[in-house]
């Protein structure tokens, strides 16, 4: 078992690093910015990725990508994250929509959407979750009714990142109410004309998530992806891409959370307290385990294996590190985090509150544990 970069990997890492250093030279530290400013930089960053031909890094050459593998994408994401790069505004387009359309789309669908994603002028969001269907996604009730030339869709979606910036939506809707719940779903590549988007204010004041209301929205037959009634299978592809692209960033975020915690403790003069040192020791173990586990996961995929339920363990460890580190950081504040009139204290509290989402978004902690219980421990389904 060898954890070193190969010469090729190393050369690519250096190429990426050189480009990033130039492209990030005028980009401020995102952690300290307001949400509006962060969104501005996310859009700028997306444009730079597209202009630099990085948007389709791991897409096949035939579809306008650079044909590199998941490891190359991991290297890129890692180098970007360690430099504190903004999150690209069309991550859903590059990481989810594009790969899913490549996997399941017709030639016409690929021709219609892929160039726009690579150019950076077709933005996507993901319309999966619903108010009544969170962890139990397959119970979704947004209804599509057959009409001439397409479907009329009614329902509500929630937790949609970036809906306010997107022109298109990866939309799941029920096309056959009589079929078993996994079989009556269809996946649409829906233009968002007629969607009503309303932002949700999160506990930290941010509005990164939205609700979407669909009232008699028309979607054409040509926008059905993967066939009527096959939506669940197509959705699983998207979710696999989502897990894959997330997993590559997790370890950097975990390390940065620990870095910030240490900086706060040093500034407050408590970095030598034994309780603090012990806490950092425990955090470091988990944070490194995420990094090494990600490397092993990538190694397995490159060797032709499919990333298994271990990704659930990595996500679980990551969430714990970031939540714990961010909680300790606010607790080190003068008044235990409850006075948020200083910029630093407010930013720390905002991060702590944001981190509460980590055990909810992208599959709740409980769902991750169920996956481990069923697939690693071979216990019966408990949900």
């Amino acid at each position: 078992m060898d954890f070193a970069d190969s010469d090729t990997d190393l050369a690519f890492r250096h190429e990426v690093g050189r480009w990033l250093d130039g492209a990030l030279a005028d980009v401020p530290d995102q952690e300290e910015l307001s949400q509006d400013a962060r969104e501005h930089w996310s859009r700028v960053w997306q444009d730079r990725l597209c202009a630099g031909n990085w948007a389709g890094l791991s897409w096949p050459v035939a579809h306008g990508g650079r044909g590199m593998d998941a490891l190359a994408q991991a290297v890129f994401n890692e180098e970007a994250a360690v430099r504190g790069a903004p999150y690209p505004l069309n991550g859903v387009g590059m990481m989810l929509a594009g790969p899913t359309i490549i996997a399941h789309g017709t030639d016409a669908q690929q021709a219609r959407h892929l160039p726009g994603i690579l150019r950076g002028d077709e933005y996507w969001c993901q319309g999966f979750s619903e108010p009544g269907s969170g962890s139990d996604l397959a119970s979704l009730t947004t209804a599509a009714t057959r009409v001439d030339g397409g479907w009329r869709i009614n329902g509500a979606k929630i937790w949609t990142s970036n809906a306010h910036n997107a022109s298109h939506c990866l939309l799941l809707a029920r096309t056959d109410a009589a079929a078993p719940k996994h079989q009556g779903i269809t996946y649409f590549l829906a233009p968002m004309d007629g969607f009503t988007v309303r932002s949700l204010e999160m506990i930290n004041g941010d509005t990164e998530f939205n609700e979407m209301f669909l009232d008699d929205v028309f979607v054409a037959d040509a926008d059905v992806l993967g066939g009527v009634g096959n939506g669940w299978t197509v959705a699983l592809t998207t979710l696999a891409f989502e897990r894959g692209s997330m997993a590559l960033n997790l370890w950097v975020w975990a390390r940065q959370a620990v870095d910030r915690l240490i900086d706060v403790a040093v500034a407050r003069g408590v970095a030598d307290d034994s309780a603090f040192v012990d806490a950092v020791g425990a955090l470091q173990c988990d944070a490194e385990a995420v990094r090494i586990g990600s490397m092993r996961m990538l190694g397995e995929s490159r060797a032709g294996g499919v990333p298994g339920p271990e990704t659930s363990a990595l996500k679980s460890l990551w969430a714990r590190v970031v939540q714990h580190a961010n909680r300790l950081a606010v607790q080190l504040d003068e008044a235990g985090g409850v006075l948020v009139d200083g910029d630093g204290a407010a930013a720390r509290m905002r991060r702590y509150l944001r981190a509460r989402a980590h055990t909810i978004e992208g599959g709740t902690e409980e769902v991750q544990k169920s996956i481990l219980a069923e697939r690693v421990l071979r216990l019966p389904r408990s949900r």
Binding site: F3, D278, G281, L379, P380, R383
Partner: protein
Amino acid sequence: MRATFTQEQRDIGATVGSLADADRGTARELLAGPWRAPAADGPLLRDFGLLGVPEPAGGIGSGLIDLLVAVEALGERLVPSRFPAHAAAVQLLCGDERRTGPLPDEVLDGRRVLTPAVDVPGSAGWADRVSPDPLVRTLVPYAAQADGVVALGPDGVWFADPVRTTARQSLDPSVPLADLTLAAPERTQPAGAGPLRAALVVAAELCGVAQGAVDLAAEQARTRRQFGRVIGAFQGVAFPLAEAATARKAAWDLTLYAAWAVDNGRPDAGIQVHAAKAAAGQAAVFAAERCIQVHGGMGITMEADPHLFLRRAFVLDARCGRGSWHRRRTGELRIRSRPTSRA
């Protein structure tokens, strides 16, 4: 960055695993009565002694991970063999590339069985140790069953002569423990990465213990029925086992990476080993405790097996620096590596 096991490493795991399968019951048999060698003891010492030994020390190009894969397989089945202790003692001698020559043949082919003497009474870890060396070592495994002792002191490592051996009552009777009083060494050799290498052997066995405990607990959760269904269908039972499996995976990943870092002289090797040893001890104790819990009333009886995992976990967590000490070292090194902390 392949980060996958080689075919050879898979083969080592499978071979040692099947050798160890024959000894699955031996830890229980040794609960009462004196230690005696399990069937795998001789073959392991004779045929696997070159695993993880660097070439300057007489090895044949096998990396540390090869050895750890073998030791993990033994830990999983609680095999009470002298092999892991012997291998840790050998690794203690393998940490400095300036060492003069290969280890004696009789050590590498298992005719002379060694044991490591690292831990000092009242001191949680090796780097806390102050000179003068008290020349007393505790928690020495298989002291009466070994042919030689490799000691670690502030000045390095040496083949030690015990002046006095005091058998102690071990929490895990399948791993006899003793206090040794050592003669002052005539000369020592630099320990280098030896203590790190030895600690990883212990970490690997702990990862095995954690895996064995998780497996046993999961089997119980799949078969024991209450309220009309198997208890693994209850999330209150299943989730702690998922946590144990996660902790075990984290510890094993850390251990493998640390071994690679040590073998390749990476600058972060030290912190990686401390993290691995801390995580492995915690994962093993946690898994064993969960294993007891999932067995319900039977879990707290001598006749059920879960407590065997807990005993081994405790004994190994304390060996080559306690887990709590390794965790604190991890934190110290992590904080020190931040630029802000040097201001």
